[in-house]
Structures are given as C-alpha cells and as structure tokens.
C-alpha cells in the first residue's frame, strides 16, 4: 500500500470533519468565551471570590474621631464587609462620615504594626510581647530607682475614658505629673469654660435647636465637633427656618452652605466678636438680667470694649463693613435663640483663648446659657469610678513636682531648651505630634533628646517611627472601649466600642498593655492595677452605667439643658488680652484649611477618603494652594510656585479660587504624610511644616492661626 498525498489529504480532511462534527469545537468555543469573562484570568481572585454566607449586622461605636458615632457593621459569615451609621443612636442617628464608612480599610492598612517592634539602628526588629513588656518595665524601674519618677511623660489624645484613665493612673502611681493631651476641641472647650465659668466645666452647643447660629470660623460641616451630629443639625435648618451666618476668610463648605458668608481677615475673629459686643452694649441689645450677675469687672470690660472696638475701628481691623457689624449685632441679639460658636476649623489644633472667650461672651450677653438652643455650661462628664489609688513614697514625692510644661507644646519646648534630659521616657498613645503639631521638626528634635520612647500606635506613623519600642494596639474594630462623645455636643453620651472580629495581627488592647507594664513594676505601682484584663477593668470602672452600655450599646448621661444657672466671670477678658498676630513680615497670610475628606489629627485618611479628594486640592504628588485671582500676580491656574514662610518653603501648585479673601493663601491640612503607605503618603505637603507656633500670652496656648507667606 502506498501512502500518497491524497491519503494525507484524506487523513487531514477526515480529522477536521471529525472534530467539527464532534461537540469539541462548540464546547471549546463556549468555554473559551466563558474563560475570557471569568475571574480565572485575573490573578489575585482565583482563590478568593468574595464568599457568600449569612448576612448579619452588629453595632458598635466608631472611635476614629471624638464624634463617636454609632456604627452598624454588616458581616457575611462573621467577616465584616461594610460599616454604616447606626439608626437611633443618640449622636448620629443613621448617618456616618466617610472616614467611619471606610473604617475597614484601617484594619488592613499597609502601615499597620503587626507585632511588637524594637528599634534597631534606623529600622525596627520584631520582638515578642513578653520581651517588649520586660524592656519597658525594666526601663521604667530604672527611672523609679533614680528617684525622679516625674521624668516619665505621657502624651495621649484625650483625657476621657478608661484607656486614658489607665495611662493617667499609671503615671500617677508611678509618680509623674507629666500627663499631656493633644490640643483638641474638648480641651479648648474646657479651657474656655475655665476662663469664663470656672474649673471642671465644659461647654456644649445646642446647634439642633438654635435659630440663629453665628459661627466664628467653626467648620460645622468640615468636621467640627461630632461631625455627623453637626451635619444633621445643619441640614435641619431648612425645616426649622433657622439661619447660619459663617464668619471666616474663605468660602468653606460651611460658608457656602450658610445663609450668609461674612469674610473676615484671618485672625481677627476675636476682634469682630468684641466689635459685635460693643454694638450690643452701645444699643442696649444685651440681657441686663444676665449681665448683672457677671463677676470679674463687667463694667470695666464694657467701657474698654466700647472704646477699643467701635464699629469703625472694628471694621478697620477685620475688613467687615461697620454697617454690617451693626446689622449683625442687631440680628444676633434680636433672634429668639441665638447661638455663637467658636473653634476655628475643627476646633482642635491651634486656637486663641481670647477669641474663644470673646465669642462665648456673646452667648453670655444674650443670656442663652443653659437654655434650649443656647450653650450648655456643664460639668465634664464623669462616669468612671476607678478605685482609690495608693501612692508609695516615691510616687508621692514625684507627684508633688511641677509639670514640665502646662501644655504639650511647652513640654517639647522645655525638652529642647535644656541640655540634660528633663524627660527620660515618653509614652505616646493615639497621638501623632510629629505630624500634626506646628513645626513638627522641633517636635522630632525633642523626641531625639528623649532617651526612651514607647509608642502604642496601631500604625507606623510619623511619631511611631521615632519610638524605641512599639506596643501595637488593636484598632477600634478589634476591641472593647468606652467612648464618650464630648466634642461640643449639647448632650453627653458614652458609647461602647465592641470587637467586630478577632485581632488580625499580634496586637493587644492598649489597656492590657498598660496593665501588664504596671504589673511588671514594683508593688507600689502594681498594687493599683488589680485587674487581670482590660475588659475586667472596663466593667469595673464603668459599673454605674455598665448595664446600659452592654445592653443598649450606649448610656445617655444628659440631654437637656442644665437646670442650674452658669456663673460668668469676665476677668480674663477685662484684663484686655492681646490679639495674636501672625509670625513674619511677608504680605500674604497662609492659613490651614480643614477638609472633611482628610484627617488632620491622629493617623491619616483612608485610601477611599484620599480618593475622594478633589484634583483642585491634590494632583499627582502636588498639593494645590488656593488664592484669589487678585492675589495671583501672574501665577496661573495649575502652575507651580514656591511658597515661603519664615519657617520653611514648599513647592506647590496654584488653584485660583474666587471664594478666598485676597491676600490669603489656603492650604489643606492632612496631606504630606511620610510613612509607608503608598495610598496616602508622600502626597502634597504637611501645612504644619510651614507654620510655626505662636504662643498666646496669658493662656500659653499655641494660637498660630496662620503665618505670613509669599508666593513666587
């Protein structure tokens, strides 16, 4: 038999025909089209398509900011997949801010500290929890042995709640008065209350009921106070026929949403408040029944204010027309429920006590204290019952020593001034001073002079990077904690944060870390920490409200206006404190801008939040600064420029905005992070690098509202 071409042809054709008639071709065509559609071509997803399962909701409280909103976490087979606002929660009733909604991203943040770390040259090495606690307690033991326990300092976000209470108790029983909190709206409210109404008080604003809100730069929808509660109060204005007048140099979101925007020269809000006060005095627009009870020299203050802040003079200082000042004063005084709000931007960070007190004076003069729709002057929410602490000899001696500085900025100043270490060891929890204090360079210098720094951060942020030991904490989704909503709300609520999943890394509850450090110290300290775990401590110290905390998820401490009259002492203002001036001689003024989509205090905004930032704020790696076209002086939209202040320079791009006062440069807060997270770091400039602290005489606060600057 001869196999020739024809046979081959037959073979080939037969094969083709056979395959064609068989179902193979059809099946392969179908399969390859499915293949092209499936995630199988998609490298990461092959083994992990999101698995379906039972859908449940669990409630907790968000502690990303002092707002402390109730949240509802949707879970699929116990795997959290979405955070939403919790309906009927007394703070936010269903709404949520973008940072809270993006909360799950913090769990898996690339910059999370996954295990205890110990400094090793420029980097860190992983160590065990036992070793880490032993190193910290060993160092602390040495400090106590040296007889100078006051050389242990602690910086924490707030002086509220049981975790803060444990840190404070550790310092107290150790023998150090050097317990500091970062400047926050709460601390500013307390300082203002202290200046006008007495110690141990705080101020709440009944925004949801006031019918005329006069806001001195308070970013009521920029994240001021408890953001969602403020959003809700603001949104209900339309139905309530209430008005909002916003006083600030820039058309912020709050100003744009307000019924009237009153542009004012940066840093002159206090003068405008006193100018309004003067008009009220001149035209007898104040409540005599209220002012007659003022102590501390009201007559002197009245005379002085009328002399220094006549409408014409105030107009000159603030840039607001004299006639407008008179109109504003009349409107405010004649409103049924007027309310003046202070705390520029988010009310945290640098603030002037003069400004806050002057605005609060307006509230005092219209007599809205402790009235519906007014300001509530109330004692600080105290719901914690720690057992009586017993101090040993060393601790007693240490606690008699004076605090190194009144505020945290003064602590750093002292550390930098002296050559001998005034602080031997520093604890930092929930605070990022190396990023969000003015001129962080000097904070870092101070950190370098402190021999031993322990960070309790969940993330390797700017401050944690300066630490010698990092004892990583669970995130708010992995732990129990009592969270009080202070933040200027009229009502006082404590919520319970609950773990939504098992910790995903080798982290611990900061409360547990403190307890184990204390237990490893000598008995004088250790005996004050009888709890085995933080949870046991939490249940014990919140015993009075534990039932409602554990059952309802929150405890409502107070809601109505306090029934007692508030005392008003105007001596601070009567002494005529000077208005803080911006540092430098340049012609323009740089001011920080609070943007709801970014976070200025604490860690950082999430990747989702950064994604929502407009391209007129951040473009690629460049930050854009806002100037009025009248200030542009040849600078073009989107063009590059050098921004120089007495503190530093930065390369920026220009965004021309008609909604900013000529002569003012606005730069957003919350960018320019330098830690290891490609989604949020190395984008733009940290505005704090360009602004230096200006200490207000009298209060000792850093009150730098901005700084003089030039653009070229």
């Amino acid at each position: 038999m001869k196999v020739d071409r024809r046979s081959f042809l037959g073979l080939g054709l037969g094969a083709v025909a056979g395959v064609t008639v068989s179902p193979m071709m059809l099946k392969l065509t179908d399969d390859s089209s499915i293949l092209s559609q499936t995630t199988k071509l998609w490298p990461w997803a092959l083994d992990h398509p999101p698995l379906d399962g039972e859908s449940t909701y669990e409630s907790s409280v968000c502690s990303l900011c002092p707002g402390a909103c109730g949240i509802s976490v949707r879970k699929i087979d116990n795997r959290p997949i979405k955070i939403e606002g919790l309906d009927d929660y007394p703070v936010n009733d269903g709404g949520a801010c973008l940072h809270g909604i993006a909360g799950l991203q913090y769990l898996y943040d690339p910059a999370r500290v996954k295990t205890p770390l110990k400094r090793n040259g420029d980097g860190f090495e992983e160590i065990s929890w036992d070793d880490a606690i032993a190193i910290v307690s060993g160092k602390l033991g040495d400090i106590r042995k040296s007889g100078a326990p006051e050389k242990l300092a602690c910086i924490i976000d707030k002086d509220q709640g049981s975790v803060s209470g444990l840190f404070k108790r550790l310092l107290e029983t150790f023998g150090s008065p050097n317990f500091y909190t970062m400047p926050s709206l709460e601390s500013n409210l307390e300082l203002t209350a202290e200046a006008l109404h007495g110690e141990g008080m705080t101020i709440g604003f009944d925004l949801a009921n006031a019918d005329l809100v006069l806001s001195f730069g308070a970013g009521l929808i920029e994240g001021w106070g408890s953001p969602v509660a403020c959003f809700k109060a603001n949104a209900s204005r339309k139905e309530r026929h209430a008005k909002l007048y916003q006083i600030e140099p820039r058309l912020s979101n709050t100003a744009a949403n307000a019924d009237k925007w009153i542009p004012v020269k940066p840093g002159t809000e206090a003068d405008l408040a006193l100018g309004i006060c003067a008009v009220m005095l001149k035209n007898n627009l104040f409540k005599g029944s209220a002012t007659s009870a003022f102590t501390g020299g009201f007559n002197k203050l009245a005379a002085q204010v009328q002399q220094d802040y006549s409408p014409v003079k105030t107009a000159e200082i603030t840039g607001v027309k004299a006639a407008d000042i008179e109109k504003l004063a009349t409107k405010f005084a004649k409103a049924k429920m007027p309310l003046a709000v202070f705390g520029k931007g988010r009310g945290d960070g640098a603030q002037s006590l003069k400004e806050m007190a002057a605005v609060q004076l307006l509230n005092c003069m219209v007599g809205n204290l402790n009235k519906k729709g007014g300001t509530f002057v109330m004692p600080k929410a105290e719901y914690l019952e720690f057992p009586e602490s017993s101090l040993d000899g060393i601790a007693q001696k240490g606690m008699l020593k004076e605090k190194t500085g009144k505020y945290v900025n003064q602590l750093f100043e002292k550390v930098n001034q002296t050559s001998k270490p005034v602080i031997e060891a520093l604890f930092v929890y929930n605070a990022n001073p190396c990023y969000n204090m003015h001129k962080p360079k000097t904070v870092k210098q101070a950190f370098e002079k402190i021999p031993f720094i322990v960070s309790f951060s969940s993330f390797l942020d700017e401050t944690a990077m300066e630490a010698d030991i990092i004892l990583p904490s669970h995130t708010f989704l992995e732990r129990f904690e009592d969270v009080a909503t202070g933040a200027g709300l009229a009502k006082s609520v404590v919520g319970l944060t609950k773990p939504m999943l098992d910790p995903i890394f080798d982290t611990r509850h900061p409360g547990d870390s403190v307890i184990s450090i204390a237990k490893a110290l000598e008995s004088g300290v250790a005996q004050n920490f009888e709890w085995e775990t933080y949870e046991e401590c939490l249940e014990g110290v919140t015993a009075g409200i534990w039932d409602s905390l554990s059952e309802d998820g929150f405890a409502l401490l107070s809601e109505e206006a306090p029934s007692t009259a508030a005392m008003v002492n105007v001596s601070y203002l009567a002494a005529g404190p000077a208005t803080v001036k911006a540092q430098g001689d340049y012609k323009l003024t740089l001011i920080p801008i609070d943007n709801m989509r970014l976070i200025s205090a604490g860690y950082s905004a999430s990747p989702f939040a950064i994604k929502t930032v407009a391209d007129t704020v951040l473009k690629g790696k460049d930050i854009l600064v806002e100037i009025n076209p009248l200030t542009a002086n040849g600078l073009k939209e989107g063009g590059y420029a050098t921004l120089a202040t007495p503190i530093g320079t930065a390369r920026v791009r220009i965004h021309l905005n008609e909604g900013i006062m000529p002569g003012v440069i606005g730069m957003v807060e919350g960018l320019g992070h330098t830690f290891d997270n490609i989604f949020v770091s190395n984008k733009g400039v940290n505005v704090n690098d360009l602004i230096g602290p200006v200490i207000e005489s009298g209060s000792g606060l850093d009150a730098a509202f901005g700084i003089k600057a030039k653009l070229s």
Binding site: R6, M24, D31, I34, T38
Partner: protein
C-alpha cells in the same frame, strides 16, 4: 474533480516523475484517501466525543460520601437542611453547626464516611469543604426565594434533579478551562438535554423565564 486535482498537482509538483507514474496506473490513491478520511473522521469524532470530555474535566472526589436518600428518610425533605433564612437568602450546603443538630462526636452509623466525618470534621470543629455541583459563576445572582416562593413555586428537583434519591456522592468534575462545575453545561457533551435539570446555563434560565413570563428578563434579574 480528481482529474483537475491531479492536473493541478502535476503542475505544481517539483518531483513530477514519481507522481506521474502513480497517476497513470489507476485511481487506487483516491480509494485510500477515502479510507484515510473515514478512519480519521471516526477517530477524531470519537475522541472529540469520548476522550475530549475526559481531558476537559478533572475529577475531584468529595471529602467523603454523602447519602442523600438516608438523610431524606431520617431528617425530612430538602428544606430540613437546605433552607431559606429569615431574610429570604439561601443557606446552601449546611454548615457543620446544622449537622450537629443531629450528629455528635459519637458516630451515628458504622460507615467509613461517618467515621471520616466525625473524626476529621466534628471533633476538629472544621467545616466540610464540599464541592458544590451547582455552583454558578460569581456574576450570577440567583434567588432561591423567588423560585420557591414566587408565583410558580418550583420544586428543588426542577433544577437539581433527583439528587435526594442518591446514596453516594459522585465525583465533582471541574472544567479545566473555566473552573466551573460540569453540571452547568450538563453531563451530555453535545449539550442535549432531556430533563429540565440536565444543564444550568443562561439559556436554560432564559428558556423557562420566556415560557413563564413571556420574556427572557432583564440582565439584572439574574446578574450582579
């Protein structure tokens, strides 16, 4: 035709001598070509029909045999284990927790499968990694509630067949190309279906929807 072909071949062949000799003798080559054609056709057709599916699908054994018939007898109908939750979502294959309503660490029967179940899963508190024959692609949304409680109140067998009568678990066959179960296309490689449960592709859904609703439905009815 062959002549034309041959001529063409002659014209184009370089070694013309050999071919010409073969050509002049007879038409034996054509006959051989036909035979080759037929043989190749049969071989390829059969391999495309019989061998190809074997290559296309990889067989995976279930973790252990599951006797549906026994469970239906003991526990009741399908919804005794495969139920709708309060929110109308479908539980699918039950979790270990459901099994433990009846089972415990003590084996209930004497079979090897029962022993594997108790030792490997109940004692170790591990979920059984069942392979789901009817698992649809991720882009598919299927509401059991709509089909069970909707206007037609279909029964399980309409789509799943008489699985409740099975006494052992057949191997799970996975399409090597797409990664999906063979049950979606159906056992029959030609795609011919005799029963409503023989295949579970989009066309099968659309066919029934068209019949019951006069139209195939909108994309989002079955996709997500």
């Amino acid at each position: 035709m062959s002549e034309i072909e041959n001529k063409a071949e002659n014209g184009s062949t370089e070694s013309a001598g050999e071919c010409t000799t073969g050509d002049t003798k007879d038409d034996k080559g054509l006959g051989l070509g036909v035979i080759f054609f037929i043989v190749a056709f049969i071989v390829c057709f059969l391999s495309g029909t019989l061998l190809f599916p074997k290559l296309l699908y990889s067989k995976k054994e279930q973790p252990f045999n599951f006797d549906h018939e026994l469970h239906v007898g003991e526990a009741g109908d399908c919804d005794a284990c495969h139920s709708l939750r309060d929110d109308g979502s479908f539980t699918g294959i039950p979790k270990l927790e459901t099994c433990l309503d009846c089972h415990s660490e003590e084996p209930m029967g004497e079979t090897d499968d029962e022993a594997i179940f108790t030792q490997e899963y109940v004692v170790k508190e591990k979920e059984v990694p069942w392979l789901v024959y009817s698992r649809q692609p991720d882009c598919v949304y299927f509401s059991h509630a709509a089909h069970l409680l909707g206007k037609d109140e279909m029964d399980c067998a309409s789509c799943h067949g008489p699985i409740g009568e099975s006494t052992s678990s057949r191997p799970y066959e996975e399409n090597r190309l797409t990664g999906y179960s063979r049950d979606i296309w159906g056992k029959n490689i030609f795609g011919i279906k005799k029963n409503s449960w023989d295949s579970m592709k989009m066309d099968d859904c659309a066919e029934c929807h068209k019949e019951k609703n006069d139209q195939k439905g909108y994309c989002f009815q079955c996709h997500k």
